[in-house]
Symmetry: C2
Subunit: 194 residues, 2 copies
C-alpha cells in the first residue's frame, strides 16, 4: 500500500468528537494545524492543539496443564460472551504490567512467565492489542467485578460461537495451532471492520 493511500483513507475515517479545550474551556475548531497533514481539535482562544491516538489493549492467554483461562463478560460491550483477560494500558505502565494487572483485576489470576504472543491492529477502532502467553500460577482464579464467570477450558470446550471479539478467536486459534506444532511463536495480525 502506498503511503498516500492510507493517509487519504485515514483522513476520511478519522472523526474528532472534541468540542471544548481541556485547558481553558473555550470552543475548539477542527482543522489542519500549520505543518501538519491531519485535522486536529485546535483551541480558538489559547491555540492548544489536541492529538488523538490509538489505545493499547494488553492481556493474557494463561494456561494450566492443557486448559485455557477464559472469562465471561458481565459488562457491555458483549456482555455474556467469553473473552481473555485484557484491557486498556494505563499511563506509567509497561505492557507486561498492564497485561498482568488486567488479568488479576478481571480473573484473579497471576503468572510469572508471560511472553509476547500476539500483536493485532484494529485500525477501524484505533486499538492495538498486545497479548501475552504464560502459565496460570497455582491454578488459582476468581471473577472480578467485570466478569460473570471464569473457567479453565480444554480445546474442545472453547465456546467458539460465544466469544466476545474476533481478536480473541484469533488469539485462541494461533495458540492452539502453535501448541499442536510444539512451538509457541509470536503472531502479527490486522483485523479490519467487516
Amino acid at each position: 500500500m502506498l503511503e498516500s493511500d492510507f493517509m487519504n483513507d485515514n483522513l476520511i475515517r478519522h472523526k474528532i468528537t472534541q468540542h471544548y479545550c481541556t485547558h481553558c474551556g473555550s470552543k475548539v475548531s477542527i482543522r489542519i494545524p500549520e505543518g501538519d497533514n491531519r485535522e486536529r481539535a485546535i483551541c480558538d482562544a489559547c491555540g492548544a492543539i489536541f492529538y488523538e491516538n490509538p489505545k493499547i489493549v494488553s492481556g493474557c492467554l494463561l494456561t494450566y496443564k492443557d486448559k485455557i483461562l477464559l472469562c465471561k463478560r458481565a459488562t457491555e460491550p458483549r456482555c455474556g460472551y467469553w473473552t481473555l483477560p485484557a484491557g486498556f494500558l494505563e499511563n506509567n505502565e509497561t505492557l507486561e504490567e498492564g497485561a498482568l494487572r488486567e488479568t488479576f483485576e478481571e480473573a484473579g489470576a497471576k503468572s510469572q512467565d508471560i511472553k509476547l504472543f500476539l500483536i493485532c491492529n484494529l485500525p477501524h477502532i484505533s486499538q492495538i492489542y498486545i497479548m501475552y502467553h504464560g502459565s496460570l500460577l497455582d491454578g488459582k482464579f476468581s471473577a472480578g467485578v467485570e466478569m460473570e464467570d471464569i473457567k479453565l477450558v480444554t480445546e474442545t470446550e472453547i465456546p467458539w460461537d460465544d466469544l466476545a471479539f474476533p481478536v480473541i478467536s484469533q488469539t485462541l486459534k494461533c495458540y492452539l495451532e502453535d501448541r499442536k506444532k510444539g512451538n509457541i511463536d509470536i503472531h502479527f495480525h490486522t483485523i479490519m471492520k467487516k
Copy 2:
C-alpha cells in the same frame, strides 16, 4: 513485582492536566470514578469520564548494504541530535503503516520488507516504542521538514554521543549485536527514568 506495588506507584506518578470537559466545556474534578481504582478527570456538569492512556511511537531502522539510515532532528526536543525515523501512531493506522508513514515523512525513505524488531516501554513518559527493521528501498532518502539532515552510516560512523534518545541507542545496539550474530531477532526492553 506485585500488582499492588505498581498500582500504588502509578497512582503517585500519574498526573492529570485536564481542567475542562471536552464535550460541554464545564470544569472537571480529579477523582476516582465508582468501580475504578485510578483518578480520572470527571465532568462536574455532564458526568463524562476522561481516560488518559499511553501513546505508541512507531518507527524504522532501515539498512542499505551495510549502512544504517539516521536522521538529524531539526525540532525540539533534542534538536540537532541523531535519531531513527519514528513518531506517534495516528488513529486508524496499523503499527506498520505508522512506522512507514513516519519514515517517509521524516526521511523520504521507503521499505517493502519491515519486520518487528524492538518493543520498548518508557513508563515514566507513558510511551511504548515499536521499532521495525527493514531494507531501504532503492537507497533513496531525503530530509523531511522536521529533519536537518539524513544519512547512511556504517557501524563506526554512528554518532553515539549525539543520539537523541536512549531508546534509539538501545535499538542500534540490539541491531549491531544481532547482525554480528547473523540473526535479526525481536527485542524487549524497558527504559526507566534516570
